[in-house]
Amino acid sequence: MPHDHRLKDPYTELRLFRNRMLVAIAGVIVLLGVLVARFYNLQIVNYEDYRTQSDENRIQVRPVAPTRGLIYDRNGILLADNRASYNLSIVRERVRDLDATLELIGHLIHLEDSDVAKFRKRMKRRRPFEPVPLRFRLSEDEIAHISVNQFRMPGVSVEAELVRYYPLGELFAHSVGYVGRISERDLNNFTQEDVRRYRGTRSIGKVGLERSYEQRLLGEVGYENVEINARGRVLRVLDREDPKPGVGLTLHLDARLQQVASAALGDRRGAVVAIDVNTGGVLAFVSKPSFDPNLFVTGISFVDYRTLSDSLDVPLFNRVVQGQYPPGSTLKPVMGLGALEAGIISRETKIKDPGFYKLPNDPRIYRDHIRWGHGDKVDLVQAMAQSCDVFFWDMAHRWDIDDMHTIASHFGLGAKTGIDLPTERAGLFPSRHWKRNARGVPWFPGDSLNAVLGQGFVLATPLQLAVMTATIANRGTHYRPQMVKTINGTVQPPERLHNLEAHPNHWDLVFEGMEAVVNRSDGTGKRAGEGLDFRVAGKSGTAQVVGIAQGAQYDSEALLERHRDHALFVAFAPVDKPRIAVAILVENGEAGGKVAAPVAQMLFAEWMSRPYPPVETARDTGLTGRAGNG
């Protein structure tokens, strides 16, 4: 480095320094201006934007699930309730030693290995400040054990959640149905609007009224604005729009009558439907065997589900609306009325019954269920009372199937009844047109003989039979069957679907025949009227499960129990001013008069003990309250 020989000059130095420093000061001022301008830009010009950004950061909108609407029977007995279910949850962040805590909990309450395994799996997906459930549905004792030892387990808490509860259990499993956790499939079917409405809700109606009235029961989701920190932990609620609870439903169903119907059916498989003749309201709705709907609410266990779904008795099957059975002789009143109206028969028509019937030019022999026949002068009333098949075969042979089809459809056969329940089946009443389309073959005269007796192609659900019976009792006024009586206190008006014009004399004759079924000494349904101080009209029926080979003897002993005929009985009461119509199906019950008619008797006895018209009362608390007061 060459040496600098200039002299130091303090004045030059100072001048230079000041010169440079002044330039630097100018630079400082400019840069300070930049900073001030920047703050002006951020805090004043774009204040609104950043205010919004910061609010979006800290405020999170959280859905608040509405309370599901309650379901009551007609007397205010609670059928579907919401109950607090207590779950044990752990907040990972606050637990010092997780393994030790889990072990301690294991000493206090019952804890399956699978609970712990599922908990560890769930924990991985949640953030450390979120409570992770360990055990669901704690008992009172378990809650007490946890509470007493809470101080030893920081981060462990018992949390309440409202879940559906069905106090009467399996009695209403098929009518009220049940809710379950929203499944993947439910989610796939959700519309945009559904996605919004189900925010915060974990259950959805799966079966029965819970499903058909899902939209009303659900309610409207509420929202709350919560302040969260950067890790998403909720610090406080800023404001809240309350959810609107779902509407309450009051059903036509009567818990007491339902219980009587269920008890009357006993351990047998079958279905019982009772309908209020004047409104179409469904008073009893029993499908047996049933199941405990509470199992499904928070998710049914695999074992429980397998037990139910693999059972030979198919308890999950709703026999009332999904079971399609040949209605058998229960169709006779309707067929008789139709034939009267069509002029095929009259009050005077009498036939000779040798115990069998043969179509012209057909070698096949149609056997009556009484081998020696019903006598030489069988008229319509006797044919109904004793269920004489030959009378109806003769009638059917002379009658056009499409006329039969028309009269059947006036009574709701072959079409869905339109009840406010999902998954209803339509049954079937054949016609020429139907057979050609469905089977590709023309109508044979033998088909008419089967159809008139409710066999062959004919299928009906127990509900359809009840509606048919109620329509007979109403002398042609056909109401849509209804489960729900009031929605949120608003009475649902009865819906008249159709009014059949028929000659009053013809109605009288049909009533006479059905009354004879119950009241004549040789009637097949005598037991339906036993011990009652009002008159009952009915019709028994038997539905073949297995076709019987030509010429073979009917031997029930030799058949397996499940191959025995189904027993059917339809009835209404009282005859002069009908109030209730019932349809009873007992699977493999063999004879309608013997097995099904007594069920009708019990229903009538119970229902007719009530004042009429029914007094609207405040909601009762006990099952027996209403009936006892009446």
Binding site: M1, D9, E13, L16, V28, L31, R38, F39, D55, R58
Partner: protein, 381 residues
Amino acid sequence: MANRDYSHRLSDMDSSLRKPVSLARRLHLDVPLLVLLLMLACVGLGVLYSASGGDINYVQRQSVFMCLAFLGMFIVAQIPLDFYRRWSIWAYLGGCTLLLGVLLFGTGAKGAQRWLEIGGFRFQPSEMMKLGVPMMVAAFLHQRAQPPALAAVCGALVIVAVPAALIVRQPDLGTAILIAASGLFALYLAGLSWKMIGAAVAALMASTWPIWQWGLRDYQRQRILTLLNPHDDRFGAGWNIFNSKAAIGSGGVYGKGYLQGTQSQLDFLPESHTDFIIAVLAEEWGMRGVLLLLLLYVLVIARGIYISFMAQYLFGRLLAGSITLTFFVYVFVNIGMVTGLLPIVGVPLPMISYGGTSLITLMAGFGILMAVGTERRRVHF
């Protein structure tokens, strides 16, 4: 060379006879500067209390640092400037050796070695060099005629380049640039010719592309890209800057109120008690708070410039000027970074951010400033 200022000594005796020396002057304290620094310290502790989420422990610890730093400043102020000038070469060489040591035996975090552990003490030699480099440059130029000849300029550049290069290797580009800047300020204030400045600026601009391409590491390039497009990666690299801007902007003119800042109190603001602390102030006190703080800084800088103007010798003058300008650079870089004007470099906000090391260095700098300001007057103008 040693005996060239007889006249100064004579006049010195003269002045001390004329005027009684105040207590503050005898204690080598510059009262306006001291008052401003105390005010800044109070503001700092107040903001820190909020920024730490109401954690008094942080405030207590920072108060201890403050006390130590003021004590350090006081001690530094007592030492005559001549001593610094004579010993600066050794301090500089020692600092360079330690920086070399950091590269060889250093410890650190996040992929950078910045710390040196000797006998249980952990310290950052780069902190030391924040004062060591401008001191060495000032001492070097002090002996030479001004404006500095080319040879002197080259010498000064070497003095700056060696530690800067060592710090870049740690790697700590931010600190290296700031240390280089402090040395270059001294050179600039000594009267570096505009031609040379112009040439340097031109060279720097020309090398922008090569530096981007080869001189920067990936994370450094990412920081610059983030600066240009903070919304590109809001929840990743852009998170800090997105949230600090939201905090500042949402403060508006009047702020959300002390301890009421949602961004800072709800942990949306990262590093809220260290590098990003001004965002807390801006959110809770609004623009008035920011302007007040900037005013305090401006007054400190003004006082520093005044002291440098009044300095007796070139060494003190250059050193005081360099320290003052560097102080401003710290303020500007920190605020520029938090408001999204500059890429993110780890520079704390002087006197406000939590942390002891940088505070002590900073206050030592002010101690030197006070030593310059209270230097015995020997010359009258």
